[in-house]
């Protein structure tokens, strides 16, 4: 039986036309998500993970940005074809967003209750008194004590973690079916991070919404996501369920990321391993595979032809000409560690 996926991104390409040249921020990425999926989108700064997600909601500034091609089907409807005047009916109601920095993402001169209520008034046509009651309920749900009194408070009266809870309350206020969390824990303490992750996990179960969790923190992904997409240089280089991704990475970049994670067993005198070189210049992307200048597996072919995503196991794809060698190396290393 054919089921329409909740989200179907196809060949999404986003460029920014700047004075220095054309920035190839996202270069033809495709993936699908089902209702209730939790997807981790991993990559370093500038890899296009945020841009690709914001492009779905047409939240990238145009100009200089431009969505060159592709389609983003949300429940069958192509979000990139909706008229600009209509896009706000998708925002907030179908797709909610939590932003990275809770310190700057709340309006400093508006009480938070009003900010949460505003979305419901606009999107669900709720009367303002009812929306206020609803915001109290939402704030209680995201774990803000004495919510009935705190709705009158301004953002500066909340701590970072509390503000992120407020942001979450805003994002889920209209019961979106997809929540885009753009590095929501990056600006927070580690202990608060864990609380926020648990909160989102619980809310996800309650509301059965799908989540795209954008991060560069593999630890967060391991804790939360069912599937992981790894981005590099504006392309998806590996897609896998999270267990196989951590146990058998099939792309040199993923392997590099995983081996540069410190663990408690690591000897503190020992240098952490790292990936040589620096992230690619998105204006002058290398031909072929975007990762080859930093890759230890590279051959001549990598510098000329761009690898496509190929399946290495069920539901696990990797865009590399040498997946077999990567898998082999990882296997031998794991064997060493086991001994």
């Amino acid at each position: 039986m054919h089921v329409t996926p909740l989200l179907q991104v196809e060949n999404l390409t986003v460029r920014f036309y700047t004075k220095d040249g054309v920035v190839n921020a996202v270069n033809g990425i495709s993936y699908t998500m089902q209702e209730g999926d939790i997807l981790g989108l991993v990559g370093e700064s500038g890899s296009g993970k945020s841009v690709s997600s914001m492009a779905m909601l047409r939240l990238i500034p145009e100009p200089p940005g431009k969505i060159e091609s592709g389609s983003v089907r949300f429940d069958g409807e192509d979000l990139l074809q909706i008229k600009p005047s209509q896009i706000h009916r998708v925002r907030g109601r179908d797709i909610g967003v939590i932003f990275q920095d809770p310190m700057t993402s709340l309006n400093p001169v508006m009480p938070i209750g009003k900010q949460i209520a505003e979305a419901m008034q606009v999107n669900l046509g709720m009367a303002s008194a009812k929306a206020m009651l609803e915001s109290i309920d939402l704030l209680t749900r995201v774990g803000i004590p004495q919510a009935d009194r705190r709705i009158r408070d301004y953002p500066h009266q909340f701590s970072g973690g509390m503000r992120q809870r407020v942001m979450i309350a805003m994002a889920i206020s209209c019961h979106p079916r997809l929540l885009i969390a753009d590095e929501p824990t990056t600006a927070l303490d580690v202990t608060i991070q864990a609380q926020i992750i648990d909160l989102v996990k619980n809310l996800q179960k309650e509301l059965s919404m799908a989540i795209i969790w954008i991060t560069h923190d593999l630890g967060v992904i391991a804790r939360l996501a069912e599937r992981v997409n790894v981005m590099y240089g504006g392309t998806l280089v590996e897609m896998a369920p999270s267990k196989p991704l951590f146990s058998t990475p099939a792309h040199p970049y993923t392997l590099g990321l995983l081996s540069s994670l410190p663990s408690l067993d690591t000897d503190s005198d020992q240098d952490l391993s790292y990936i040589n070189g620096s992230p690619p210049d998105m204006i002058h992307l290398p031909p072929g595979c975007p990762f080859w200048p930093r890759c230890s597996f590279r051959t001549k072919r990598c510098t000329q032809e761009r690898p496509e995503l190929v399946e290495v196991a069920e539901g696990h794809t990797s865009a590399c000409w040498h997946t077999d060698r990567v898998l082999e190396l990882h296997r031998s290393r794991s064997a060493e560690v086991a001994q």
């Binding site: 907030g92 967003v97 700057t104 993402s105 979305a119 999107n123």
Partner: protein, 327 residues
Amino acid sequence: MSDETTTPQPQSAALANDTMINHALKNEPSLAAEELFTVEGHSEETQYASFWVGAWRRFRRNRLAMFGLVFATIIILIAIFVPMLTPYEYDQIDMPAALQPPSHEHILGTDELGRDLLTRILYGSRPMLMVGVLTGLAGLCIGVPIGVLAGYLGGFFDWIVTRLIDMFSALPWYLIVLYLVMVLSPSLQNLMLAMIITGWVGSCRMMRGLTFSIREQDYIEAARALGIPTWRIIAFHILPQAAPLLLWGFAAGIPTSVFAEAGLSFLGMGIRPPRPSWGQMLADSEFYWQFWPHMFIFPSMMITTSVLAFQGIADGLRKALDVSENI
């Protein structure tokens, strides 16, 4: 008003409290107790004072600003109720009583036609306020919508608006006003019209710049991501944020307008006789001031004092509203 602190100081809640305590130590028991009480009462109610409450508290501590506010209030009341305040008419000619120095009957004396100078000065507050306040308000009504749209939408509209602003800023506005009034024939209405035509540019430029910077804030993007439509973002997220600066800009424009009205009336380009204006009264004293100095002292005092008062308000507002100065 004796609770004012004369030296400007950072006024965070904690420091404000310190000030209260200092007052308590400085043998002002009754007052300090009252202040402490209100502060405590406040903290029980809402914990934090809102921005405007804090701004008012800071404004109140500013002597010049409070003087300005009191003066402006009195002038406004005078302008409204002046017919009830004086037994004379502003155009009541009484030749035998011409050119009298201040006396019991004519508190500020009379002019060359025997008109009561005090009456004319009181009536002169009307054109002063009309030009000072109304042109500023009208300028806001035109400049703010255009500025906010230009700043938010950008693109071609912004390009046009920017060129217009540049054009108006490049030309000396005083000369434009003078020219317009000349072409339209001198009168209070035409003077105001001319000043609105040139005056909207300031608030427009300020609003455009503010919108540009506010628009880039994360919380505006967050609001867009929540599906808040553009008009709501402008009305509920951008304008409230810009309100303090706009208020200041409005207040800061008043002294300039007051001065301009006086200057243009002095040149015969403003309000037409027999209706009085301070600038015009100053011009009338041209041939008499050496022997009847009251004819020029009182109008010029009024011009100076009102410019100073409105400047004080503007300055106090700037200090009270500038959050960065008060953290």
